[in-house]
Every structure is written in structure tokens, then in C-alpha cells.
């Protein structure tokens, strides 16, 4: 059976990673659900800054910010859950995946949101360029997480039983 690699001093412990993603996940869920409420209020009050057809791009960008932010918040929670269940995941790749996912969780919804704050004749503002950067980081995080599942078999049976309760 492969042993999990011993963590380097620079790598975060499993408990720290799980705690961090639980915090980030629930906090960003709070932020982006609040954004959803704000957007709904803009609809309810027919605020032209958001709804006017001239602001089509802004509406699209902010809707995407809300959707991506909320979804990525749930992914953060899923990451915490996964990390908890794969204790044999090498600390180095786990740390990289963790920070990549957090960066993606900031850059993707943040990029969409900024893209809607400044709008140029139907084109989003340059914040939109943060989105592909976030996308690459999300890809890295998801790839590393998916690869980590090969360490599932390294989890001691007792730990699996505990986990399954």
C-alpha cells in the first residue's frame, strides 16, 4: 500500500485545507446568493442600469457572475469533502489544487462581474480576461482532484467505515 507523501513544511495540512475550503465555500455561497438577491431586486424594481436593452451585456455578465460564483462555492465544499475522504492525497498537489480552486472561485465570478461594471458598446470590460485565467486554474484544480482519487484505495478500511457513517 502506498503511503501518503509526508508534507513539506510549505504544504498545508489536510485539516487546514478542509477548514479553508469549508470557510471559502460557505462564505462565497453567502456572497453570491446575496448577489442573486440583489439581481432579483434590480429586476423587481425594473432598474434600467441593469435591465435596459442597452445594458444587455451587463445583465449577462452579472448573471454569469452569480451563476459561476454560486456553483464554484458548492465546488469548494465538494473539494473539502473530497480532501477529507482522500487523506492519502499528496500534500503538494493537494495544496496546489486548493489554491487553484480558490483562485478560480475569485477570478471567474469576479471577472464576469467586472466585465459587467465597465461595458464598451456591447463588449464587456477587460475584467472578462480574468475569466479564462480562472478557467485554466479551475481546470488544474479539477484535474488534480480527479487524479487524487487514485489514492482512495490508500485509505485504511477503518477510516472508510468511519467516513461512510
Amino acid at each position: 500500500m502506498n503511503r501518503p507523501a509526508s508534507p513539506e513544511p510549505n504544504d498545508d495540512s489536510l485539516a487546514l485545507v478542509v477548514r479553508r475550503h469549508l470557510r471559502v465555500g460557505w462564505l462565497s455561497l453567502l456572497v453570491f446568493l446575496t448577489l442573486g438577491l440583489v439581481l432579483e431586486a434590480l429586476h423587481g424594481m425594473k432598474v434600467q442600469f441593469y435591465l435596459n436593452a442597452m445594458n444587455e451585456t451587463r445583465r449577462l455578465m452579472w448573471t454569469l457572475a452569480h451563476a459561476h460564483g454560486t456553483l464554484l462555492a458548492v465546488v469548494q465544499l465538494g473539494f473539502a469533502f473530497t480532501a477529507h475522504h482522500v487523506p492519502a492525497w499528496p500534500a503538494r498537489t493537494r495544496t496546489i489544487a486548493s489554491y487553484s480552486l480558490i483562485a478560480a472561485g475569485v477570478l471567474m465570478p469576479g471577472g464576469f462581474f467586472l466585465g459587467g461594471v465597465w461595458v464598451y458598446a456591447g463588449d464587456p470590460g477587460l475584467g472578462i480576461l480574468l475569466v479564462p485565467v480562472g478557467g485554466v486554474l479551475l481546470f488544474v484544480a479539477v484535474l488534480l482532484t480527479a487524479l487524487s482519487l487514485k489514492h482512495l484505495k490508500d485509505v485504511p478500511p477503518a477510516s472508510r467505515r468511519v467516513t461512510s457513517k
Binding site: 436593452a53 496546489i96 489554491y99 480558490i102 475569485v106 469576479g110 467586472l114 465597465w118 477587460l126 480576461l129
Partner: protein
């Protein structure tokens, strides 16, 4: 660094810093660095492109009539927030695209380095990126010159100086007009937002540029139409246009509520409506109720007279009682008790008596405007449907309105006929008893074109857009009217091979109409041929179109039409030639021949004689041969042609 850059860079740094701090692999750090550099350099490119796009748009907008007209207008973008379906259905219409900014999405003309000449002047059309240009004689100079000449002709000004060499300019195309059959283009003055017409129009079907004079029914060799959008077109091709006094002077600053015919053209200014409905409780109360919203006009909820008048703001022949007042207030329908107070309908049946009400500008056009009506006052140029409707008993004594047949939101863009109103259903709404006795009334087979109400009661007796268009003054076929006015009746527009005598006998036998006394050619010759050869330019255009009209060709046959249509190939009016050649193309013998209706006169005559030489009536069955008049008769009718100058500007 702008705030936008600062926020984006800070966000990027905040997101990547923890990752970079924890990463010891040089590959990972290089990857992160690459992402940062790529994002920043992409940002520079993005920003500069966006800046260029924005600058180009701002430059264009500065040259256009400002969409800033006061009076509580909010523009269609605002309406869409709450009415996305209605906005979408309107967005499909040709009303919306009547006037548009010149952009790659709106421009349909061929601007790939086209060089055209007209009346000795050269025009070069070209495209650079998303912008369109024409190099031409300075239109402001040409317009000023045309004004001087007009003043001199009216005895109001000195004789213009001898013609100097016109200054050449390259102008960006600013506006487009039309998107259905053809498209016209406008360029802006140096100062203010005056828009001058480019004297070429692009025809979609033919995919060719033609001089603007050759898409209107105008006397041959008419001078170029010196059009300024601000003074004329904005009245109906924009929402609530306000020309401003001095609209024809350099530096004029015209305003509109919106370019194109938008929501507020038909629903009135929307500001109060928008303000009232910010409150969601009010909106949901209105959704549950049935009374409609008093803060906005819904043409479907007002009286038939009022809803028709809303369309009739534009779809009517009107004149200004006070042109200067119109320049100041513009299209101000929604702020007045009645549109007739300052822009009454032109009374077609009283054109000869007109009138001290007209100001000098209008009187100058009186003679031309008189040609817009048949002798009995029925309007004969398209786009004036309301003028016909108000003379119709169904409107005067019934509840008929434009919305009886048309719908702005539940229809196809071409004719905007409401769903289900393509056949007789529109008329059955009130005349339901004809459902069971249709053939008894029409004396035609039930599923034939002769049993469609509108083919007999709304024949194509108005002219516009290079074709015949249905009259919206609902009448019954009458030979007496044809004799009195020269207006072809519905029977002879379908039965192209029949004489007026034949029609009179049918109408007498079927509907007990008195048989008028008919003399001359109309008594025995096919009436359609007589009107085509001998009529005025408007009649000739209508008949040339009917010679290509499918129902008429099915009833009357096709091949015998050729020698008559050949006579249109050298007609002095270019639109008659255009329509005639289109109809000719439907005849097998002529389909492969190449006619250019704008070819020099000698070539046109040659085309005609070539066509007639190649064609022989000997192959026709005797029944069709009998419909063709002897050449000397055709020549005689041509010699008797009504040569009075005609102007039908839709």
C-alpha cells in the same frame, strides 16, 4: 492606470498570490507568470480594441440626429425590460429597421470598392473595417446649389453663379433607410447633424446600385432629388422626430426620440408608464386586472377610429398647415388633441379646389400632389393607407380599423397581416353571412382567386416600391369608375384579356350595375392593354405589374402578354421599364433575355425590337392570338399615351 485596470490587476494578484507563495515548482510558477502576462497583454489588446470601437461609435453618434427629444420618451431599450416578447416581435419588423445606424449588421449594399457614375458625377463606395464610405461631390455644396436654383426659378433669389467644379469629399455613411426591398444611404454635414442622401439606392433582389431617381416614379430627366433627412424623412422614419427651425441650414441640430419606428410611435411617450411601474405591486395588480394601464396607450384597447389614426400619423397623405411650426415641434401627435389640428389629411377629392390653407412650400408641390390621387379622390400612391381607409364605409359606419387585419406583434414582417387574416377571415369578422353564400356572391369557384374578398374589393391600384399595392379604400368593381377616373377595376386587373364592355356586362348580369356607355378602344380591346399603352405613367406601372401577377396570368394566359410588355422596355419612365422587364421574365420566351432597364435609350429600343423579332404569335393558339392587337393599333395607342409628368413618391 484607470480604475478598471487597477481593480482587475488587484483581483488577479489577490487570487494568484497565495498559489504562487505555496508553489515551489518552477514550472508551476512559470505557468502562473504566463497566465498573468497573458491576462495583462490580452487586457491591453482588449482595451485598445474596445476604445477604438467606442470612439468610432461616438464619432458616428455625434453626426446623427440626437436621440434626445424631450416629451417623456424613453426608447425601446427601456420597454424591453418588461415587454420582452413585444420587443422581440417588433424587433423583427421593417418598422424598426426603417432607419438604422450604418453598421455591418444594417448595411446591405455592396461597398467593396464600387465606382458608379450618374449624370456625369462619379461615386466611389468602399468599406474600411466596420465603417462604410462614399467619395462624391460635397452633398452640402450640391444641396445649397439646388436651393439657389429653386429660389431663382421661383423668383425668390438671384441667379446662381456659373457652375464651378464641385468639391470632392469622402463621407462616412451614417444612416440607412429601408431593409425590405431596397436600401438608401445618408451622409452627414460637417457641422450639426444634417443628413444628405446619397443619390444611389441598393436593390436587394437585383443586388445592384441604381440611381435614386430610378426607384421612384418620377418624370424622366428629373433633377437629382436633393433630400435632407432632417426636414422630411424624420417625420415618419423615426420616432417623434423634431426637425428644429433651420433644419435645412448648416449646423442644424435635429432631435428624435429614437431612430426607426419604435414602440413610442404607436404607444406614445413611455416615461410616466415606466415611472409608475417601478412598483411591483402595481404591476401585478395590472397583470391580474383587465382594464389595462392608463399610463400608456395600447392601440388594441382604444376605439377603432383612434387606433387607425395612430397608424394614420404616417400612413396618410397629410400636409402641414404651418410648416415652420412643424419644424419646431416635429411629430408631436401624442401631445395634441388631434393630429388634424396642424397636419390634416390632404382631401384627395378636393385637390382641384385647393386651397388657401396651404403654405407656399406646399402650394409649390400642389400639382405634383394632385397626381397622388385618382380623379375621384382615391389615393394612388402607397404608404397612405389611412387616407383610403377613412373613405371606406366599413370604417365610417363600422368598427373596422387597421388592427382588424393587421397586427404589429402577432404577424410576419412582410405585410404584418394578423395571424389567420390572410384569406377571407378578415372580412368574415363582420360579413360572416358570406361564408355560406360565397360563390353565390362572387360567381367564382370557392377556392379561386376570384373568391378572395380583397382581390375584388381591394385591388392593387396604388403604386409604390416598384410594384402594385392593394388599395385600402374598400370599393366594389365599377366600370363607370374606371371610365371616370382611369383607375383600372379589379375585374380587368385579373381578366387582362377582356374589354371594359365585357366587364360591364358581367357586372350588370351579376350585380345589376348599370351598363355605362363605352366608346373607343376600351369598348373592344383588352382594357389592360389600353391602359398599359395609353395610360399615364402610374397606370402603365400598375398594368405592367399586373401583367406579371400570378393570379392574372393564370386566368388570362401568359404568352400573348409579350408584345404588350415589350412596349414597356422603352418607356420613358424607368420604373415602368423596371416593372415591365420583371413581368417579362415570367414569360418563357423572354426569360433568358438580358434587359437592363437603365441601359441607354438606343439599347433599350434595340432590346425591344430584338425581343419582338424573335417572338412570333404564330405559335400561339388562335384564342390567344385574338387578344393581341394589330401592330398599328398598338402604335396608335402608344401615340395617344398620356404624357403628363407624373410623380408618385411613396
Amino acid at each position: 492606470m484607470s480604475l478598471e485596470w487597477l481593480v482587475a490587476v488587484l483581483l488577479l494578484a489577490a487570487a494568484l498570490w497565495p498559489l504562487a507563495r505555496k508553489t515551489r515548482s518552477w514550472w508551476a510558477r512559470a505557468g502562473a507568470l504566463f497566465l498573468i502576462v497573458a491576462a495583462l497583454s490580452g487586457g491591453f489588446v482588449w482595451k485598445s480594441r474596445a476604445h477604438h470601437k467606442l470612439t468610432a461609435r461616438q464619432q458616428l453618434l455625434q453626426k446623427l440626429p440626437g436621440e434626445t427629444r424631450p416629451g417623456g420618451y424613453v426608447r425601446s431599450e427601456t420597454c424591453r425590460s418588461c415587454h420582452p416578447d413585444q420587443h422581440a416581435s417588433w424587433h423583427r419588423t421593417f418598422h424598426r429597421t426603417m432607419t438604422q445606424h450604418a453598421t455591418p449588421e444594417s448595411v446591405r449594399g455592396n461597398f467593396t470598392n464600387q465606382t458608379l457614375t450618374w449624370k456625369g458625377d462619379e461615386y466611389q463606395f468602399r468599406r474600411r473595417g466596420d465603417e462604410f464610405f462614399v467619395e462624391m461631390n460635397d452633398p452640402a455644396w450640391a444641396f445649397a446649389r439646388a436651393q439657389q436654383e429653386t429660389s431663382f426659378q421661383r423668383g425668390l433669389g438671384p441667379k446662381p453663379a456659373p457652375l464651378e467644379k464641385p468639391p470632392r469629399v469622402e463621407k462616412r455613411i451614417t444612416l440607412t433607410t429601408g431593409s425590405h426591398h431596397m436600401q438608401a444611404y445618408w451622409v452627414a454635414a460637417e457641422n450639426g447633424n444634417q443628413q444628405f442622401s446619397v443619390p444611389f439606392t441598393y436593390l436587394f433582389e437585383e443586388q445592384r446600385w441604381v440611381p435614386r431617381n430610378d426607384v421612384f416614379l418620377l418624370p424622366p430627366d428629373s433633377p437629382p432629388l436633393p433630400q435632407v433627412w432632417n426636414n422630411n424623412c424624420l417625420g415618419c422614419h423615426a420616432t417623434a422626430g423634431q426637425p428644429e427651425p433651420g433644419a435645412l441650414e448648416p449646423g442644424a441640430l435635429t432631435r428624435v426620440a429614437e431612430l426607426g419606428i419604435a414602440c413610442e410611435s404607436c404607444h406614445g411617450p413611455g416615461e410616466a408608464h415606466v415611472r409608475a411601474n417601478v412598483n411591483p405591486r402595481r404591476r401585478y395588480a395590472l397583470h391580474r386586472g383587465t382594464n389595462g394601464d392608463p399610463t400608456i396607450v395600447n392601440p388594441a384597447r382604444v376605439s377603432s377610429k383612434k387606433s387607425s389614426e395612430i397608424c394614420g400619423q404616417c400612413h396618410a397623405a397629410r400636409f402641414s398647415l404651418n410648416h415652420n411650426e412643424w419644424l419646431a415641434s416635429g411629430t408631436d401627435y401624442w401631445h395634441r388633441e388631434s393630429i388634424d389640428a396642424n397636419r390634416p389629411l390632404i382631401p384627395g377629392h378636393k385637390m382641384r379646389e385647393l386651397t388657401n390653407d396651404w403654405d407656399a412650400e406646399q402650394v409649390a408641390h400642389k400639382q405634383a400632389l394632385a397626381g397622388y390621387f385618382w380623379n375621384d379622390g382615391m389615393v394612388r400612391v402607397s404608404g397612405r393607407e389611412y387616407s383610403g381607409l377613412v373613405e371606406t364605409p366599413c370604417f365610417q359606419r363600422g368598427a373596422m380599423s387597421c388592427l382588424s387585419c393587421h397586427s404589429m406583434h402577432k404577424s410576419e414582417p412582410a405585410d404584418q397581416l394578423a395571424r389567420g387574416m390572410e384569406g377571407n377571415a378578415a372580412c368574415y369578422q363582420c360579413h360572416g353571412d358570406f361564408k355560406t353564400k360565397l360563390t353565390q356572391h362572387t360567381r367564382h369557384a370557392a377556392n379561386s382567386s376570384g373568391s378572395l374578398c380583397y382581390n375584388c374589393h381591394m385591388p392593387h391600384t396604388t403604386y409604390g416600391l416598384l410594384k402594385g399595392i392593394r388599395s385600402h379604400q374598400i370599393t366594389s368593381p365599377s366600370v363607370q369608375s374606371s371610365l371616370d377616373t382611369g383607375r383600372p377595376n379589379a375585374c380587368n386587373l385579373c381578366h387582362l384579356d377582356q374589354s371594359l364592355t365585357w366587364t360591364a356586362k358581367q357586372l350588370n348580369a351579376w350585380y345589376r350595375q348599370p351598363e355605362p356607355r363605352i366608346a373607343g378602344d376600351l369598348a373592344s380591346a383588352p382594357a389592360s392593354a389600353v391602359w398599359l399603352l395609353r395610360g399615364d405613367a402610374g397606370q402603365r406601372a400598375l398594368l405592367a405589374w399586373h401583367f406579371g401577377w400570378e393570379p392574372a396570368r393564370q386566368i388570362s394566359g401568359t404568352n400573348w402578354l409579350l408584345p404588350y410588355l415589350a412596349e414597356t422596355l422603352d418607356d420613358p419612365y424607368s420604373v415602368v421599364r423596371y416593372i415591365g422587364q420583371r413581368s417579362l421574365k415570367q414569360i418563357p420566351e423572354a426569360r433568358r433575355l438580358d434587359f437592363d432597364y437603365l441601359a441607354p435609350a438606343a439599347q433599350r429600343s434595340l432590346n425591344k425590337s430584338t425581343l419582338l423579332q424573335r417572338w412570333s404569335s404564330e405559335n400561339l393558339p388562335p384564342r390567344e392570338q385574338a387578344k393581341i392587337l394589330p401592330p398599328q393599333e398598338i402604335h396608335k395607342l402608344r401615340q395617344a399615351r398620356d404624357q403628363r409628368p407624373m410623380e408618385l413618391l411613396e
